[in-house]
């Protein structure tokens, strides 16, 4: 294999009207690497992630995933997205479909798999996230943590090469966070390439190969987890970490 990374973002810029949200982001994720993105609310983390699978169209810069330049005007964006799984903060399970059909609908309509094949893949992934017995439930009957695990299984059923996670545990009750993180940790152990926006510092420390701290639309600091979280160089990083790690006793 070449040393081309799974994801390479270069000079990415994005504005919403007058608001400059991303101001030249460079980022790469090697195959099999887990990169966590941390940073204060409104710093552009979600927008960055959404630019990686072009849910938002970048104003400037390029996004290359699996060697395909998604920002090139001739690129087939639907084909590229099949290889990029995305997990949203608000789960976004299809409300009118059972859990099983949530996992099979795109396999059948996009990949053209027949029902038997799609079911087989779906059930294997449901088992992986520990929710085989919920195959015939409706999303509304599940807890938030279960819904998010189904959403992960749904993305995995397309056989992605990269997984994007946008604060996957932020909308969950605290006692449900652990199950979701465990699924993500297993995924990382299997060698999945992952780009994860998160506020779970323990997870970042234990699972991430690299951590990026973003603020004001730029990457302020990046490096191994123990360095960025354990011994940050920049004042902004330190202030942010102090607030996240000890929200009640604010430093200063």
């Amino acid at each position: 294999m070449s040393d081309e990374p799974a994801v390479r973002v270069t000079g990415l810029a994005k504005c919403f009207g007058d608001l400059k949200v991303l101001c030249g982001i460079d980022l790469s994720v090697a195959t099999g690497e887990v990169v966590c993105v941390i940073g204060p609310s409104g710093s552009g983390k979600s927008t960055l992630l959404r630019c990686v699978n072009l849910l938002e169209e970048p104003d400037e810069g390029s996004v290359v995933v699996g060697g395909v330049d998604l920002t090139h005007e001739d690129s087939d964006i639907d084909a590229a997205r099949r290889k990029i799984g995305m997990v949203f903060q608000s789960f976004n399970l299809f409300a009118h479909l059972t859990v099983l059909n949530n996992l099979t609908v795109a396999q059948r309509k996009v990949l053209g798999r027949d029902r038997a094949e799609a079911n087989r893949v779906a059930l294997a992934n449901l088992e992986k996230v520990g929710l085989l017995e919920k195959a015939n439930a409706m999303p509304a009957q599940l807890s938030g943590g279960q819904q998010q695990r189904v959403a992960i299984a749904r993305a995995l059923s397309m056989g992605p090469e990269v997984m994007l996670f946008d604060e996957p545990t932020s909308a969950l009750d605290p006692e449900l966070v652990g199950d979701v993180l465990e699924v993500m940790r297993d995924l990382a152990d299997e060698g999945m390439t992952m780009l994860v926006v998160t506020h779970e510092m323990h997870f970042a420390r234990e699972v991430a190969d690299r951590v990026l701290f973003m603020d004001g639309g730029v990457v302020v600091e990046e490096g191994p987890a123990e360095q960025v979280i354990g011994a940050p160089e920049h004042e902004r990083t330190r202030t942010f970490l102090a607030r996240v790690l000890d929200p009640i006793h604010r430093v200063e």
Binding site: S46, N53, D78, G85, F88, A95, H96, A106, V110
Partner: protein
């Protein structure tokens, strides 16, 4: 002026009841009830209408309404999708279509379309049933298009984003994810539009037809002319209620089951969406 709110409400209600009683008494005394009873409750005339009032007239009303509703639904969906299109010309055409057909009396549309089609395509398969289907369908479609559009816009944006992130194209996401959820939301208002169309199907009597094609209103009117009694009007009316009242209950049941999601304007739904940026 020191009158408590509750006391004032009681006085207002007493006045309302008094007015109601006066009106009822005046009508009851002034009207000639014997003649009304003779005209509307002639059992011989009523009996003479059976079984045709059911086997022909009621059935035709159901057929015309069903054809019109089906065609109107398809047309309404197309117009709604055009209104939401990113192509400006489509949006403009669909907007003009809705304004045009909502602004005209149903009778004029039915007369123009129902008589116009046979003139334009003489001797073709576009026979009476097809003309009626198209005419009634167009009458219903302008309203249904607006309902369907509101339903589509009420489906949270995250549903489309999830579908797109799985590699679905815009149109696949629309067909497999958005439209099924939109229709679930708009089932109650669509049922109401079916009631309206059931009543509007009476207007096809102005297109002229042979006896086997009579629907309820024309059947009643013909019987009225022959029997010189108003009983057929009453019988036809009851037949309409047999259709519309269960539909009305169905609509209310569906509304309760879907948690009473009310679709009014597209703007109201924007607020209801889960907002990520606020986290």
């Amino acid at each position: 002026m020191a009158m408590s709110k509750r006391k004032r409400a009681r006085i207002v209600r007493a006045v309302q009841y008094a007015v109601l009683v006066v009106v009822v008494v005046v009508v009851a005394v002034a009207a000639d009830w014997g003649r009304v009873a003779n005209a509307f409750f002639d059992l011989d005339v009523a009996g003479g209408m059976f079984p045709e009032v059911i086997t022909v007239a009621l059935v035709n009303t159901l057929i015309y309404t069903g054809l019109g509703f089906g065609f109107g639904l398809v047309l309404g969906l197309v117009v709604a999708l055009m209104r939401l299109s990113s192509v400006r010309a489509y949006r403009w055409i669909a907007g003009a279509y809705v304004e045009f057909f909502r602004g005209l009396p149903a009778l004029l549309v039915i007369l123009a379309i129902g008589s116009g089609i046979p003139l334009a395509f003489p001797g073709t398969i576009l026979d009476r049933y097809v003309s009626i289907m198209i005419a009634l369908g167009i009458v219903g479609s302008a309203y249904m298009a607006e309902t369907i559009r509101a339903g589509i816009q009420a489906v949270p944006k995250g549903q489309v984003e999830a579908a797109r992130s799985l590699g679905m194209s815009q149109s696949k996401a629309m067909v497999w994810i958005v439209i099924p959820q939109a229709f679930k939301i708009i089932l109650p208002p669509l049922t109401n539009e079916l009631i309206l169309l059931t009543k509007d199907s009476s207007l096809v009597l102005f297109l002229g037809s042979s006896q086997v094609q009579y629907e309820l209103t024309q059947f009643g009117r013909t019987e009225l002319n022959q029997s010189r009694s108003l009983t057929p009007v009453l019988v036809a009316g009851i037949c309409y209620l047999i259709i519309t009242i269960p539909l009305s209950y169905l609509s209310r049941y569906l509304e309760r089951r879907t948690g009473g999601t009310k679709i009014r304007s597209a703007e109201a739904t924007e607020v209801a969406q889960p907002e990520e940026a606020t986290k």
